[in-house]
Amino acid sequence: MLLVHHTFSKMALASVLSGDSADFSFDSSQSFAFGGGPGPSGLGLEGTPGDSLSFSVKNPLCVGDDDGVERKIEFLHGTTTLAFKFQHGVIVAVDSRATAGSYIASQTVKKVIEINPYLLGTMAGGAADCSFWERLLARQCRIYELRNKERISVAAASKLLANMVYQYKGMGLSMGTMVCGWDKRGPGLYYVDSEGNRVCGDLFAVGSGSMYAYGVMDSGVRHDLTVEEACELGRRAIYQATYRDAYSGGQVNLYHVHSEGWTRISQDDVLVLHHQYKDQA
């Protein structure tokens, strides 16, 4: 039953991506996932060798595509996403660049997935894996809400996601996501990845640019920040990461999760931010 589901999800991925992704003709020596696995190494996680292999390796479970052309799936290990808790909730900030090797595939990727009006998920790793599983999570959360007449807690939502992907551990899923929300216990932030990790924390950064983001965040984060200060901190952290990390860039998308749900705060192009910060200094 597990295998069938997996094949189904692979087929779903193919149909989802065939429309959107351009036809990248690479030679198989190119590796996509350059520069860091989905998990921040600050947590003591090693990206498994599988993460940084070229994804032209044939998955034995996956039947070759019908038209014979091997579609390379884009992976967003080259990314910077961050989230941190503070007194007024959770700030979520992400970049918007997707790379395939040294080719910038897109500068306008939405890396924050709106699970429901009070839960957000970030995307790092395989774009399709993240969006598929998080949409499945949205469905589970809604069913929970209908059955139990109350919102699902962030702990439970992240647990559901972790349990779902754990069944596919070792089968090539690549997903490093942060589940952020506000429930009866207050602000909630969990890091969940396809290796089966699920960690609660106050502050996470995920992706190739995470080290740069950590530096900025760690120096500025306090529990008693105001909303504007926290937004600026998140924005600055992503900007600094895009400045130094080649695989992050595009725009900074900023969200704030508070007791009423989440709000999209801003979307700023990093070049504009660059000039803004230069003028300020």
């Binding site: 059955r147 139990n148 699902i152 807690s153 702990a155 439970a156 647990k159 559901l160 349990n163």
Partner: protein
């Protein structure tokens, strides 16, 4: 009808071994012509034969009382327990077939822990009641199985401190109650509760316990010895009252009754 029953029987026999001459075993998943599910109704009859249980929802306490069936001389009293904890904050009492209850209780206990594991929160009383009711309903619509012959009273406190009392029956329905009784003479007890469940009657913990005892005394022979009582107070685990405590309360109740009778006599005479 007969040919249908025979073909069902073949299914059963190929599936799992059943007595070839027990055609009755196939009846229950059909409706009767006037819309009854007879097996469910027979199960409810079985419940009515069970010993009485009463549940009361107070303000800061929930009380379960059951009629203790008299044990044989050589039997260890403590092995007969009709009130069981499902988790730290939820417990239930049942009326009907004890063996069926044991299965339901086991499944409910596992579900309470599974819920804690996946959702990282203790179950709400409503959730576990819904689980038990769904379980019971499944057995009313299943091949080769009969419904559970128990009604359950499930009490406890939710995460936010609200006290709850639910009742389930063999058909798989459940309702919330302020006070209810199941089992033998449940009707009498319920009528007593309807008359005597007032805001003052449950104002304090002791009052709620006394109300439960009074309700049971209506139908139980020979007083406090045949009553088993359990309470849950907010944020405290299930506590089963010792027989001494029950005796004390019964004596108090009898004294109050006498005082009431005295007052009435005086009123009449003046």
């Amino acid at each position: 009808m007969r040919t249908m029953m025979c073909s069902r029987l073949d299914e059963e026999q190929s599936g799992h071994r059943t007595h070839p001459h027990l055609l009755l075993s196939t009846i229950f998943f059909f409706f009767s012509p006037d819309g009854h599910l007879f097996q469910v109704e027979y199960a409810q009859e079985a419940v009515k034969k069970g010993s009485t249980a009463v549940g009361i929802r107070g303000k800061d306490i929930v009380v379960l009382g059951v009629e203790k069936k008299s044990v044989a001389k050589l039997q260890e009293e403590r092995t007969v327990r009709k009130i069981c904890a499902l988790d730290e904050h939820v417990c239930m009492a049942f009326a009907g077939l004890t063996a069926d209850a044991r299965i339901v209780i086991n499944r409910a206990r596992v579900e309470c822990q599974s819920h804690r594991l996946t959702v990282e929160d203790p179950v709400t009383v409503e959730y576990i009641t819904r689980y038990i009711a769904t379980l019971k309903q499944r057995y009313t619509q299943s091949n080769g199985r009969r419904p559970f012959g128990i009604s359950a009273l499930i009490v406890g406190f939710d995460y936010d401190g609200t006290p709850r009392l639910y009742q389930t029956d063999p058909s798989g329905t459940y309702h919330a109650w302020k006070a209810n009784a199941i089992g033998r003479s449940a009707k009498t007890v319920r009528e007593f509760l309807e008359k005597n469940y007032t805001e003052e009657a449950i104002a304090g913990d002791n009052e709620a316990i006394k109300l439960a005892i009074k309700a049971l005394l209506e139908v139980v022979q020979s007083g406090g010895k045949n009553i088993e009582l359990a309470v849950i107070r907010r944020n405290q685990p299930l506590k089963i009252l010792e027989s001494k405590e029950i005796e004390t309360l019964v004596t108090e109740i009898e004294k109050e009754k006498e005082e009431e009778a005295e007052k009435k006599k005086q009123k009449k005479s003046t």
